[in-house]
């Protein structure tokens, strides 16, 4: 294919991607100032340095102001307790880092930086992964191999751990 042909195809594909993004934004803008719900994606100024988003996965059964949130990102390295959301699903491609889930008060969120929504099925998978982590279930050897990969470990130590610390710090202040 000629360079001009390649450029034309790229333009077409880019238009499709922009349209898909715009459709999600219309939905998200309709949610501004509404209460936070599981299945929504946010970005936070407090963790902007770490390129993560946050997925609301559940509301605490006993304390309704507490939300279970998990860092989410577009890095395709997937560890044993992560939930991978495919490109074809709402919000995808995205990886929910379930091992780093934490309960936070709903006042921590800036509802104007809501950036997307997830499929309820994917949210349910994340909740299941969280409950297995809570129970202390060990992943099988095929899965923890992924955790031991040097690149995955770097992602955890350079992005996910500091992002969670920054979030915790912001809640304290």
């Amino acid at each position: 294919m000629s360079p001009a042909g390649v450029r034309a195809r790229l333009q077409q594909a880019t238009r499709r991607a922009v349209r898909r993004y715009a459709a999600v934004q219309v939905m998200v803008e309709g949610l501004i100032d509404t209460p936070l719900e599981p299945g929504e994606l946010f970005v936070l100024h407090a963790t902007a340095a770490f390129d993560v988003e946050w997925a609301v996965v559940a509301r605490h059964p006993a304390h309704s102001r507490l939300l279970l949130v998990m860092p989410a990102d577009g890095c395709s390295l997937v560890g044993s307790s992560d939930v991978e959301i495919p490109e074809s699903a709402p919000g995808g491609p995205l990886v929910l880092r379930c091992r780093f889930g934490q309960w936070l008060g709903d006042s921590s969120f800036e509802t104007r930086t809501r950036v997307g929504v997830l499929d309820p099925g994917d949210v349910a998978r994340a909740r299941l992964a969280w409950s297995e982590i809570e129970k202390g279930d060990e992943p099988g050897p095929a899965r923890w191999e992924a955790d031991e990969g040097p690149d995955y470990q770097d992602w955890v130590t350079e992005i996910l751990v500091p992002a969670c610390m920054a979030l915790a710090d912001s809640e304290e202040t």
């Binding site: 790229l10 594909a13 993004y21 390129d51 890095c75 930086t113």
Partner: protein, 386 residues
């Protein structure tokens, strides 16, 4: 300024920007401006697009060089039909180079599939150059893992072993990236002189012998026994000191280990009946047709010929999946034809596994290719066999 010099300037600029990103002093760059301009009301100007494209090309080149992939065949990243990243197409109807081909796919990975991710971060910060840089590295990681599983596996296993030895205080990082990359210099004593690393001419031969013990596990050990494999590799590493190697560069152990593993694995592949044994001999028939004969055909003519076949395949009225399989198979056959080390095509079983094409589809795909190339009496075939 010629194209190579121009590219080098851009690569240096990108390297500087990468450092600025690390130190947090990066300004609003080409990627940020481009993503900012992508909205449903308007499209980025040609200038904004070209600026982004040039920056992406520079970043990709920089990363390929940093990972020593620039000197490896493009096929290691799934770009088939090119001998090197520098090679330009002689056929005007084709993508201009292997780098262009990779660039298009990389653009899709970062700016199309992850547009929502990039836009989301722009909500809370002024620039996303660093995130694009992360995605670019992530992209190359995925390509290597997918298209060069053997090389990737050896690299990763050795890297885990070295990092383990460093964490245990058995090895020390004297210079380079502490994450352990090609240019990292390691030593048994933190006080050793890093320059000694460049004087280890016999290191390659020592490392190659490790494979007597490590293969075939290094390539195909089940996941569960991977930890034992890493422990064995770590013992070999520590034995280097007894061999008189106290300081070494990571690149100088990974390269010979990988090359030797590739060579031995290829030999195993051959012994295992990797030769063409498929019913009807379809692969051999097609390969024979496209095998360039230097006595009769100039390389340029071969490139022109293969380029015209690639164009012809694009025009075929077949389902998308068939298109994909045909492109993959054709790219492989083209590489095979130009690789003197491979004198026989793999069997359909091996080919199916290598290319990710269902085995039962291969005969039909060969038939389509045969028609695209033309029958033995056809003009193009005649050019090859003339």
């Amino acid at each position: 300024m010629n194209e190579v010099a121009s590219r080098d300037v851009v690569v240096r600029e990108w390297a500087k920007r990468g450092q600025e990103h690390k130190s947090g002093s990066s300004s609003r760059g080409a990627f940020t401006r481009y993503v900012g301009a992508l909205d449903s009301w308007d499209e980025p100007t040609n200038e904004t697009f070209n600026e982004m494209w040039q920056a992406l090309r520079a970043a990709l080149t920089f990363e390929l060089q940093r990972r020593s992939l620039w000197t490896s065949p493009p096929s290691y990243l799934g770009v088939y039909g090119w001998e090197s990243w520098r090679q330009q197409s002689g056929h005007t109807g084709c993508t201009a180079s292997a780098l262009d081909e990779l660039l298009v796919d990389c653009y899709s990975f970062i700016f199309l599939k992850r547009l929502a991710r990039l836009k989301a971060q722009l909500e809370v910060k002024p620039e996303i150059e660093g995130l694009v840089f992360l995605y670019l590295r992530n992209y190359l990681h995925d390509r290597r893992k997918h298209y060069d599983p053997l090389g990737f596996r050896v690299f990763e296993v050795l890297r885990v072993a070295v990092r383990g030895a460093v964490a245990a205080g058995e090895l020390h990082v004297l210079s380079g990236d502490s994450k352990i990359l090609n240019q990292t210099i390691l030593a048994f004593d933190a006080g050793d002189n890093p320059r000694v690393a460049f004087e280890q001419s016999h290191l390659g031969a020592i490392v190659e012998r490790w494979n007597d013990d490590l293969l075939p596990d290094l390539v195909n050990a089940p996941r569960a026994s991977r930890r034992r494999l890493i422990e064995r590799l770590r013992r070999h590493l520590l034995d280097l000191e007894a061999s008189g190697v106290r300081v070494f560069r990571f690149k100088d152990i990974i390269d010979p280990l990988k090359q030797d593993a590739r060579a031995r694995w290829a030999a195993i592949f051959e012994l295992d009946g990797g030769a063409c044994t498929s019913p009807g001999g379809e692969p051999a028939a097609v390969a024979h047709r496209i095998q360039p004969d230097c006595r009769l055909e100039e390389v340029e003519s071969f490139m022109e010929f293969t380029g015209s076949i690639a164009d012809r395949l694009e025009l075929l009225d077949v389902p998308k999946k068939t298109h994909r399989y045909l492109r993959r198979l054709w790219c492989f056959l083209r590489t095979f034809a130009g690789d003197e080390r491979m004198d026989r095509l793999p069997s359909n079983r091996k080919l199916s596994s290598l290319l990710g094409i269902p085995r039962d589809r291969l005969p039909g795909l060969y038939e389509i290719l045969r028609q695209a190339i033309g029958d033995p009496a056809g003009a193009i075939s005649a050019r090859i066999s003339a």
